[in-house]
Symmetry: C2
Subunit: 334 residues, 2 copies
DNA sequence: TAATGTCATCGAAGCGCTTCGACGCAACAG
DNA sequence: CTGTTGCGTCGAAGCGCTTCGATGACATTA
């Protein structure tokens, strides 16, 4: 292994000069810096991460805790992760991946000084990780919105506003009976707040506009989706529009509607709440509220970075939803 | 931060005694060990990862390079990752996540001594990462099979055998015209070997058994899947069985078959090659060759671990496929 | 000419841990 | 009673880096 000593010797300078030349934390004359850089290149020198972390109190790694279960929406998670990893590189950071259930992991990586900051996905209302996070010296960023975010940064799509946006779009088209096909029971029971916030926004907005609004949970399986559609028609026979907030179920819901003889958007309009690629990848392109998963991931990193060197206080950011009209919504049938 | 010195002081022993008490690398008397452990508990001591890495040449972290693109099969990747992360914990290791395109990452984390070993997913025949990997001091495990694995451990499902298994199952049921609906063009062009191995196994086995075998690539989109089905009927009008090795397309292929008036398995049999949960989660449970993604991930970790402390030489392991008969295959129509 | 200031560089301490060699002590053999 | 062995513990070196204070060279000013 080539060390900073080797570089110093090769460049004919002291170790500290090499360090300063590379970090730029003190002025080094151009010729000296050139010699150092040359030596670095020729020897293929890489600073030892552990030694650096020990001396500088910085690891250049951040922890990402992601739900690797199968029941949640794999595609969205992947995009979050991609956003985080990609943006982290812009800040010269790598990403240590923890699983959601690894509660001890928070302590292990934070107290063990393995990371500079932590990002947690899929936060629940009373998430058991929050107390752990609060007592670490590293800043934490939550993707999601717990009941009490005290001391922790949060970022998420504004799901209440998303629901409103979807309802308004449909209401403006004349729809008066709208159903929300949402997350599985389990997700709601876990008190994952995005699901709750969606339902809440939907309920209040339909109420506000004097519209019949029905919420049905929907399991993420073929059967679950078919069942959800059936329940909608059962409980709201004259429904003319659906808001679907469940990616896995989405294609099945569409197929089932067609099977039941409903043409989209002639007989029934559909607004999806999902990432853009899912919305346009269906049999027909769907009007949708975009879940900008990658953006959220990268914003999370930005927020972590801000707290690392700016030591700003924690803040909460809710991203404004954007609805894109495509082929799946139209005026309510007469 | 509480350090090993604090623990030593609290326990009334020397620093080295604490270290040995915790690592077990030298005998420490029971009472002393108890005092150390008590101090550790009371102070909430966690060794500093960087310091430990510096002194011991072990980081207890392994790198996992995963394709976070969207075009590949997200679900399978997630399962690999889960397998790796979960198994890594059994060996007291954490996982650093790199993206596939981050070629420089190999050097950064390996030469920078951030990890003890590397695991690379989605390896191509002439993968550009291989030379980089070979010159690192850390062992590497590939998920996939490059043309020349020299010096690197490999693990994957035996896709040639999988194809054979699928073909044999169908041939034994009397099918004489079989099509393989496979990976997208791009994946093949990238020379991702699982796709090639699948095609090769399919081609040789159909030939060996004197069966008409047709391979059609299939893009991972609704339109792509529909198109693939059309091409199959175009080029092999009397086809009675399909092998589908493309998870994303799978549901669309099934739907399209039905739309074309083909009932499964009465008119046409289908063998999927996909993870079990995908096979059973379709509208009807599918006969399938399981892709044991999680197992492969955990085997990869096992292989890495073996090379870490046993310093066994590199080896290649191809997992034997298992075909499970479900509702989508039956005798060839007369 | 001496005092002052600037700039580039150096030396050394120290980050927190592991590990090697040494040491004291008790048990045992000769 | 001395010599040997083995167990449990300690001290110190060293892992590779960052950073602080000091220093020397040189230019600037009084």
């Amino acid at each position: 292994m080539t060390t900073i000593d080797d570089v110093a010797r090769a460049a004919g300078v002291s170790v500290s000069t090499v360090s300063y030349a590379l970090s730029g934390k003190r002025p080094i004359s151009a010729p000296t810096r050139a010699r150092v850089e040359r030596a670095v290149r020729e020897l293929g020198y890489r600073p030892h991460a552990g030694a650096r972390a020990l001396a500088s109190q910085r690891t250049n790694v951040l922890a990402l805790m992601a739900p690797l279960r199968v029941d949640v929406n794999v595609g969205v998670i992947m995009q979050f992760v991609t956003g985080v990893v990609t943006r982290a590189r812009d800040f010269e950071h790598d990403v240590l991946l923890l699983t959601q259930d690894d509660l001890a992991g928070v302590d292990r990586v934070a107290a063990g000084s393995m990371v500079d900051a932590l990002i947690m996905m899929d936060v629940e209302a009373e998430d058991p990780r929050l107390p752990l996070l609060r007592r670490q010296k590293q800043p934490a960023v939550l993707i999601g919105l717990p009941r009490d975010p005290q001391g922790l940064s949060c970022v998420d799509l504004d799901f209440e506003a998303s629901a409103r946006l979807a309802v308004d779009h449909l209401a403006d088209l004349g729809h008066r009976q709208i159903a929300l096909v949402g997350s599985p029971h389990l997700v709601l029971e876990r008190r994952t707040t995005y699901a709750q916030r969606m339902v809440h926004g939907f309920t209040t907005e339909t109420a506000r506009r004097g519209i019949a609004g029905l919420f049905v949970p929907c399991e993420s399986s073929h059967a679950g989706a078919v069942d959800a559609v059936d329940r909608v028609f059962d409980q709201l026979p004259d429904v003319t529009a659906l808001v679907v907030h469940n990616e896995v179920a989405l294609p099945v819901v569409l197929a089932t509607l067609r099977e039941r003889g409903k043409e989209i958007p002639r007989d029934i309009s559909v607004v999806a709440v999902c990432p853009e690629d899912v919305a346009v990848g269906q049999q027909q392109p769907l009007t949708a509220v975009d879940i900008p998963a990658m953006t959220i991931g990268s914003v999370a990193v930005d927020m972590a970075a801000a707290r690392l060197d700016g030591d700003q206080p924690a803040e909460t950011r809710l991203l404004s939803p954007v609805l894109t009209v495509r082929a799946s919504t139209g005026p309510a049938p007469a």
